[in-house]
Every structure is written in C-alpha cells, then in structure tokens.
Amino acid sequence: MEIILILGIPLLGGLLLAVFGGHRWAPELNVVMSLGTFVASAWLTARIIANGPITAYNEQFFIDPFNVFLVTLTAFVALTTALFSSPYMHNEAAHGKLSAGRLRLYHSMYQLFTFTMLLALTTNNMGILWVAMEAATLTTVMLVSLYRTPASLEAAWKYFILCGVGIAQALFGTILLYFAAEKVLGAGGTALLWTHLNVVKAQLEPTVLSLAFVFLLVGYGTKVGLAPLHNWLPDAHAEGPTPISAVLSGLLLNVALYAVVRSKVLVDGALGTHFAGNLLMGFGLLSLVLAAFFLSRQKDIKRLFAYSSIEHMGIITFAFGMGGSVATFAALLHMTMHSLTKSAIFFAVGHAAQKSGTQMMENIRGLIKTNPTIGWGLALGSLAILGMPPFGVFASEFMIITTAMHEHAWATPFILVALGVAFAAIFSKVQTMVFGETELPRLPHPPALVPVFVHLALVLMLGLYIPPYLADWYRQAAAMIG
C-alpha cells in the first residue's frame, strides 16, 4: 500500500504539474507532492522498522535494509530540494530567466524524476531497474537544458548520449544476467527478480556473470560518474538549474550506485572471488584521484562541486569494493552523508550564484558579509564534504581510511594525496567566496535556507550519533552485500 503511495504520488504530481506547472503556486504544489511522497516513505519506513523487510505485489517490489534508507533519503532530499526550489524558481522567474512553459516542464519532470528514482529503488526486477534508470535520464535531460543556452544544450546532449550509450551496456549486462538466471530459475517473470536471484546466486554461471558484471558496471557506472566514464557529469551539473544539480548529485548517483551494488552481490555469489570488488576498487580509486586533480582547475562553482561528487562516488565505490562489514557499512553511511551534504551545498551554491548573477567563482565574494546564512551554509557544507569532523562525512571516511590502511595499504597513499589535493582545491576556492568584502545586493525573494541547515544539522548529528535502527539497517545491508 505504501509502495503504491510512494510511487503514485510523484506520478500523479508529474501529471498534475504537467497541467498546472506554470502557475504561480506551482512550486508550492511541487512541495506538497514531495511532502506526500516523503510522508508515505516515512510510513513505509515505520512499517519496516516494526515488521522487517517486505515484498509486495507478486514480489515485484521489495524493501530490505539496503533500500529502505535510500527510499527515505530519496524522498527526504526530494522534499527539501522542492522546498529550496520554490524560492529559487521564484527568483529565477523574477530575473526573467524562465517562462511559464519551462516552469511547467520543470515541475512536472521533477516529480517524474522522483518517481523513477523511487521505482528504481523499490523494484525487485532487475529489468525494471534498468527501465527506471533509463527513464531517470530521460526525465532529467530536458531539465539540464532548461535554460536553452548553448552551454546547457551542449551539456544536455552529452548527458543524453553518454548516459544513453552507457545505460545500453547495462541492458546488455541485464540480458546476460537473465540468460544465466534462466538456466536456474526457468524462463519467465521470476528469473529477473533480485530476491530469487539472490537465493540461487551461487548456482549462476560464473563466466556469464563476470561478463554481465562488466557490462553492468560500465553501464550503471557511467551514471554513477566513475572515471573515465564521468565526462557528462560536471557539464550536466553545472548547466542545469541548481535544484536539478542537487538531486542529480544527491539522488541519481546514489541510485545508480545502488544498481551496481545489487549486481555486485549476485556476481560475488556466483564467482566466489573478489573479482567485482577489485574492479570497484580500481574504478573508485581512479575516480577519486582524477576528480581531485580536476578540482583545482575549476572556475565554475557548480562544476567544482560536481567533481567533488565524482570524488565521493569514487570513495564510496572503493569502499564497496573493499567489502567486509566495516567498509560496506561505511560506504552506505557515506552514501547517506554525501547526498545530504552535497545537496545542502548545492542549495547554498544556488543562492550564492543567483545573488552574484554568475557561477564564476572569481566573481563571488564576501558571502558571509551580506548573507551570513548563505555564507555559513556554504562554508560549513564545504568543510563537511571535505571530511571535517564532527560532520558525518568524516565518520564514514574514518572507517574507510582505517580499513583501507589495514587491508589495502597500497591504496592509502593515493587516498591521502587525493584528499589533500581536493581539500586544497575546494577550500581555497570556497574561502575566497565566503570571506572578504562585497557589494552584492540581496535577493528579491528570501532564500530558503532551512533545507541547508536541516541537512547540515542531520549530517552533524550523524557524525556524533547514529540512530540504532539506521545502524541496524546498515549492518544488515552490509552483511548482505558482503
């Protein structure tokens, strides 16, 4: 029932907003629909806390510890982003950047994107997972080019082509997976159901599955933004409207990684080796290092944080690759922390860029002076994402680095260098934006900074205290992922 609501509300919202999306109160309607989704997901979560994992509707949907927190997180970030998007879009409209038609498109697609994310998370069917991932690309690609500037078109086109091609590889991987599963489970509906696959994973043909994993990894990995498949990511993040950057970074990357990890579980079961883990570690480390060095070349604030997302996806992928209860736990925690923190940063960045009228960092100055809340939000958010305790990002980095130091000591010099370079790059830039003098005017609509600080407060809280049921989910999921 909850699942119907979780999926139905955003779908309904998408349809409603496709009609009313251009109205003055459309941003508020968007918030209401997102709130509904969030309430439904909270209800679902409450039930999972009470009853444990469930499957529903002929096993087409299932909720286990691995995806329950992602569902909540997705619904939550979707809600806060909608909250942020409301004044942001009012400001954009006030600046004359968007027409009513574009706003309609934006709001409708926003809800549909939420729908695809939640569908990808809740479905039990690896095929539907693929469909949802592809649909996520389709819903957001028009949003990236919302401003219709040459750069935004270019970014959207790259996003479309690269992710399209990538996701096609994932389809091939899914076919191979089905091919292997069909031998064991027989043809038909159940052979792509993850719960069934998970039961018989040890009997799946190893050669096929290793090939399938390569395709799935390249496919979904493109969406995760793993180097060297990441090239669409900074463009799409930088050129789209900021709420979209926030959800791309905060949600889409997570969900794509979720798909990779689901596949990894099956492959590990079939192969019984560390093959998938090694691949993930390699990609993770490469993304981490490359992104860190890209960071220092950035001039555009949103591009900067887009690369930071690649860096963090690298860390998470590396952690999943290492495996083991601690590292996987840390990876799951880091997914949560990253999406909360990064979306908070994008909220602050969005307002900062609106205020300065540019995304070029050299023209953004003295935020703390005129809008202390934006300035502090950006400063604290950046420090949090850079792994400064007591923020929660550090908690997961703590576990990842200490585990890596013990189990894969060869990788730690790379991590050390990458973290150092990333810190230098991001912090030097943020500092000049936050501090100093400025004469910038205030915004016509007061910025929505509640989402920023709610996110940061959550991140801070999780750095100091992790609720027991959340820890339980992480633990169970880690045990399942291995």
């Binding site: 690269l162 390569v214 390249v218 550090f394």
Partner: protein, 668 residues
C-alpha cells in the same frame, strides 16, 4: 575522592559547561555581557578543570562511555595521568588567557564578538576532549573540531587577504596531518575493526607496521606541532589570529600534538624502536635551530613569537626523542628524566608563550602596530605590561631562576647522564645533539633581548606609542596569573616533578620525584646529589640578598646624589629615535652569519639614489624546497589530467568504449 569516576565527571562537566557558554555567546550576539561574564565564567571553568586534573594525577584511571559516536564505537573517554597532566596544562594556561580575553575583546563589541566567543569556547572544549578521548573516532572528532574552531578564530579578521591565506594554509596542513593520524590509527587497530585505544594497546604489530604507525603519527602530529618541514603555517597563522587566540594556539594547542606523539609512541605502540627516538631527536634539533634562527630575524613581533614556538616545540621533541631512545634501550630511569624534562618544558612553554602572546596583544591593541621597528619605549607608557612581559621574556630566554631554564636544565641533565648506551654511534650523537640544543637555547636569549629591547626599551618611534594606555584590570589579572606561573614553576621544581612522576610512571614505569627530592624540597637532585643539583629558590634568594646588600652598602657609605640629563651617547649631538636599532638591525648579525640558511633577499639602494630605500627579507627556504615544488607538481598533474577532458563527445565515447573493451579482454 569520593567516587572513582569523579575526576572524569568533573572534566566532562567543564567541557559541557564550555559548550553551553559557547552557545550562550552565540545567543547573546554582541552584548556587553560576553566580555563581562562569559569569558570570566570560562576562566572559572578552566580553574575547576585544572584543580580536578591536578588532584587526579596519579589517581585511579577513570573511564567513561558516552552513548554517542559510531554505532559500534560509542565515545570512550579515559582520564589517566597523561591526560590529567595535559588537562592541567590546558586548564591552568586558559585561566589566564580567558581572564585576559574578558578585557581584551571588549573592543570587538558590536563586531562579531558572539561568534568569536562561540568559537573560542568550542576550541577550549575540543582541546579538552582531545586529551580525554580513548578511541580513535572521538579523538579525531575532537582533533578536527579543534582545528576547525581555531581556523575560524584565526580568520576573525577575514577581510585581510593575508589572514585568509594564513587560515587556508593552516587548515590545509592540519587536515593533511589529520588524515595521516587517521591512517596511523588504521594501522594500529590491527584489523580488529575496533578503534578503542585499549584494543590498540593490546594489538601486536610487527616492527615494520609499528614503524609505519610511528612515522605516520609523527607526520600527522608534527603538522600540528610545527615540526620541520611542516612548520610553515605557524608563522602565518599565529600573527593573523587575535592575540588571545595566538596565545591559546601556541600555548595549548601545539601541546595537543605533543600529547598525541606521547600517547601513540609510549602508550599505544608499547615498546618503541631506538631509531624512532633518533629520528625525533634529529627532527627536534633541526626544528629548534631553524625556529630560533628565524625568530632572530623577524620584524613582526607575533611572527617572532611564532618562530620561537617552533623552537620550543623542537626542544620538546628532542626530549621525546631522548626518552624514546632510553626507553627502547631499557634505560627507563633515564627515560623518566627525559620525559620529565619534556613535560615540564611543555607546561612551561604554555605559560611563557601564553604570557608573551597576550603581551603582544596589549601592545597591538594600544598602538595598532605589529612591526617591532615602529614601537619602542613602551616601558614608560605601559609599565605594568612591561614588567609582566619582562618575566615572560626572561623565562623564554631560559634564564635562571625562571621556569624556562628549569626544564632546559633537566633536559641537559638527561643528555649528560646518557653515556654508555649500547650503540656507539648513538653515543657520538649525544654531544652533537647537546651542542645543538645549547646553541638553540643561547640564541633564544638573543631573540628575547631583541624582542623586549626593541618593543619596550629605548625611545618611542611613533607618536601613539608614547601615549599608549597601560593594560586594564582583566588583562593584568590574566597576565599576572601566567607570570606568577612562570615564577613558581621555576622556583619549586621538586613539587612539579612530584606531580610529573605519575605521568612518567605510566609511560615508562619509572619516576624521578623520590630521587629528585632526596635532600629535601629545596634542592633538586635528579639522580644523586653528587652528580647534579640545583636550587632555583636559593639562587634567587642569594641574588636578591646580594642586590639588597650592595644597595645597602652603596647607600650607606656613599651619597645617593643623582642628576637627570639628556643621554650622552659619546657626545653625539643629534639624537633621534630612528637612530636606535630596529628589529631588522638587531637581527643583522644573525642574518649575516646564517645567510645561506635564511634565504636572505636584500635590496640595497645605490649611492646615487635620491630616496634611498632599503629592503631586507628572509624567506623560509622550505617554501622553495618543498612547498612550491609540490604545488607545481600538483598543478602540472592537474593540467595533464585536464587534457583528458576535451569536451568532445566522440572522445568521451571512446573512453567508455576502450574501458568496456579493456574490461572484457581482462575478464577473458
């Protein structure tokens, strides 16, 4: 002591109290109440902490677990003698600094005083937590909170670009260091996945991994302490920060790094290897000499003190290195001596350097000038301040009977009593190390004479210097406390050493106190009375008696006639304040002797210049040797990597394609 857990409860209580004060500061924004009530209240908390820490030295080990932190790793806290000593240091020094702040920060009312008060108390609480932490996670959280809060304190005046640059450099080096510390914890947990210190104590590491841990920890903590070549942030950040913050950073925060090194190398790692000690010793000597040389040529008074802090950290590290060598070679009595000297010096340094930084704060506040070359003659306009700073300067110069001399004396004793180590090369090292150490100590005297003489003595070089107002009551109270500490720590070493015994007993299993006091509390005898003894109190009393006696005799037998007149100066007619030595002039001999080391850049005007302009500058060689090359390499790499992203879709597709094919080929 009523309940066994009382001391740690008190310490935790003080931490929470400070956190509450921090929040209160934030809520009160910029009202008067902050300087009138909150800072003194913070000092009261510090007093409670110091007293409880003092009483718990040598008491039972207290542990506590807070239901916070990671799910499998709640916050573990532990109060043992090492923690108690450093808490004592924190409490005792911050009493003075907080009292002083109550007066000093009054000029910030209407600015961002509330925020500053918030950061200040968070900083205090974080440092206290560092000393109490008993698991890697809490330690790191406290450690980085400390770095973060101090970063914001350093950048209080963020509209000055140098301040921003200093803050950035500080936080960057701190962060890289923190990652290194984290990695050393990663090795130490030994794959148990349990990050409590008690697990680390019991983990058995191979020599290789133990050494890796030690090196990582030395790097990480060294970055915070300012050990060569990671010292570059220190002379930037300390001058940039408001003076009480500089005092706190230099006096207390640097000691957290010392605490970390001690904790890791003596407590967590168990048995050290002797070459760790040699490494620490060599690094310490290099740091001490480098720091004091640069201090001698500075013109900015706070930079000078910052470099002097580098020197003192070097000296402390020398003590740690010596302790490690002795401990590794099973000479624990000697190790106890070296460690006593180390801890003693750490305590002394926090008093002396705190006092001096506060002094510069008052000078800065009264004159608005940090360049020593523009000050001068303040002893006339600010006599109270001048007296207090004189105590600090003499102490820092390592002159008896003050406290700086006391700890250096102990350290030299440790050197001199060290022969007959089983390794011949090590025996050779001892005289050289001792020579370098005394050279550094002697140069410190040079530095302090320059510091005090140029700022306080002579004629005022500026109008406003002559009219500067002396310090107020809060400042007097705060600095007076620290000056008193300098004096008492110097005069009653036996009592101090008795308290330090608990720490050395915990670290190396031996104590010094009972031997030190074998001939009574008046005379300090580290090993035997025949071998070495020292009594600062007797020394002071004799000198005072000597002075009084001479004065009495002179007054008694001769007339006391005195005339005032203009200075004679060999009969030179025109005397202006500009003819005195500036800071640059005073440092000139050092600059000339050590020209190669100091990286001197000098612009000398030509004889025909109408408006001759002289400019001299000393550059930190490590910028050119290490930091700029690293920055250059990083930039080159990122330029190269930047070429990967050409913006062309076919190329991007090719990346995906090649990745796919390569992986497929790999799977085959």
């Amino acid at each position: 002591m009523t309940t066994p857990n009382l001391p740690i409860d008190i310490a935790l209580g003080v931490i929470i109290y400070w956190l509450l004060l921090a929040v209160a500061g934030l809520l009160l924004q910029n009202s008067r109440a902050i300087s009138q009530w909150i800072f003194p209240a913070g000092a009261a908390g510090a007093l409670v902490l110091a007293v409880s820490a003092l009483s718990s030295l040598g008491g039972a080990i207290n542990v506590a677990v807070l239901p916070l932190g990671l799910p499998d790793l709640p916050f573990h806290l532990r109060l043992d003698s090492l923690s108690a000593f450093f808490l004592l240091l924190l409490g005792a020094a911050s009493i003075g600094i907080s009292l002083y702040s109550a007066g000093y920060f009054r000029h910030m009312e209407g600015g961002s005083l509330g925020l500053l008060c918030f950061e200040y108390h968070i900083f205090l609480a974080a440092m206290a937590l560092v000393f109490l932490a008993d698991d890697a996670y809490l330690f790191m959280v406290a450690w980085e909170s400390m770095a973060l809060s101090s970063y914001f304190l350093v950048t209080t005046d963020h509209n000055i670009p140098e301040t921003r640059r200093a803050g950035f450099l500080y936080l960057l080096i701190a962060h890289v260091g923190a990652v290194a510390i984290l990695m050393s914890f990663g090795v130490m947990q030994g794959g148990h996945g349990d990050y409590t210190f008690s697990t680390m104590r019991n983990a058995h590491l191979t020599e290789f991994w133990a050494s890796v841990t030690f090196l990582l920890a030395l790097f990480g903590f060294g970055a915070k302490a300012g050990i060569l070549p990671l010292h570059v942030w220190l002379p930037e950040a300390h001058p940039a920060a408001p003076s009480p913050v500089s005092a706190m950073m230099s006096g207390i925060m640097l000691k957290t790094a010392i605490y970390g090194i001690l904790r890791v190398s003596f407590d967590l790692l168990g048995m050290p290897l002797w070459w760790w000690g040699v490494l620490a010793l060599s690094l310490g000597l290099a740091t001490a000499l480098y720091g004091v040389l640069f201090a001698a040529v500075q013109t900015d008074m706070k930079r000078l003190l910052a470099y002097s802090s580098i020197e003192n950290i070097g000296i402390i590290l020398v003590g740690i290195g010596l302790g490690l060598v002795f401990h590794a070679l099973n000479k624990d009595a000697l190790a106890a001596l070296a460690l006593t000297a180390t801890l003693y010096h750490a305590l002394n340094h926090s008093f002396m350097k705190g006092l001096l930084f506060l002094g510069t704060g008052s000078v800065l506040h009264a004159t608005g000038e940090r360049d020593m070359g523009k000050l001068g003659g303040l002893i006339h306009s600010m006599p109270k301040l001048a007296l207090l700073v004189l105590v600090g300067a003499l102490a820092l110069a390592g002159l008896p009977p003050l406290n700086g001399f006391m700890s250096e004396w102990l350290l030299l004793q440790a050197f001199l009593l060290s022969p007959d180590l089983p390794l011949p090369y090590l025996n050779m090292l001892v005289p050289i190390a001792a020579a370098a150490l005394v050279l550094a100590a002697a140069l410190a005297g040079y530095v302090m004479v320059k510091f005090y003489g140029v700022i306080f003595l002579g004629q005022p070089r500026m109008e406003k210097t002559a009219k500067a107002h002396d310090i107020g009551a809060w400042e007097l109270l705060g600095m007076g406390w620290l000056a008193l500490g300098c004096l008492l720590l110097g005069l009653f070493p036996v009592f101090v050493i008795f308290n330090l015994d608990h720490v050395t007993l915990m670290l190396v299993g031996k104590t010094l106190g009972s031997t030190a006091a074998q001939t009574g509390w008046l005379l300090l005898t580290p090993i035997q009375p025949e071998r070495a003894s020292y009594s600062p109190l007797v020394l002071l009393v004799i000198i005072v008696i000597g002075v009084l006696f001479t004065l009495f005799v002179v007054k008694k037998f001769y007339h006391g006639r005195l005339r005032r007149g203009p200075a004679w100066d060999c009969g030179f007619p025109a005397q202006t304040a500009r003819m005195q030595d500036t800071a640059e002039g005073f440092g000139q001999p050092i600059r000339q002797i050590f020209e190669q080391v100091l990286g001197v850049i000098r612009e000398v005007p030509s004889p025909y210049d109408k408006k001759p302009h002289y400019h001299g500058e000393t550059r930190d060689l490590f910028w050119d040797l290490i930091y700029l090359p690293i920055a250059w390499v990083a930039e080159r790499i990122s330029a190269l990597i930047g070429k990967l992203q050409q913006g062309r879709i076919p190329i991007y597709l090719l990346y995906s394609f090649v990745t796919l094919i390569a992986l497929l080929a790999f799977v085959r």
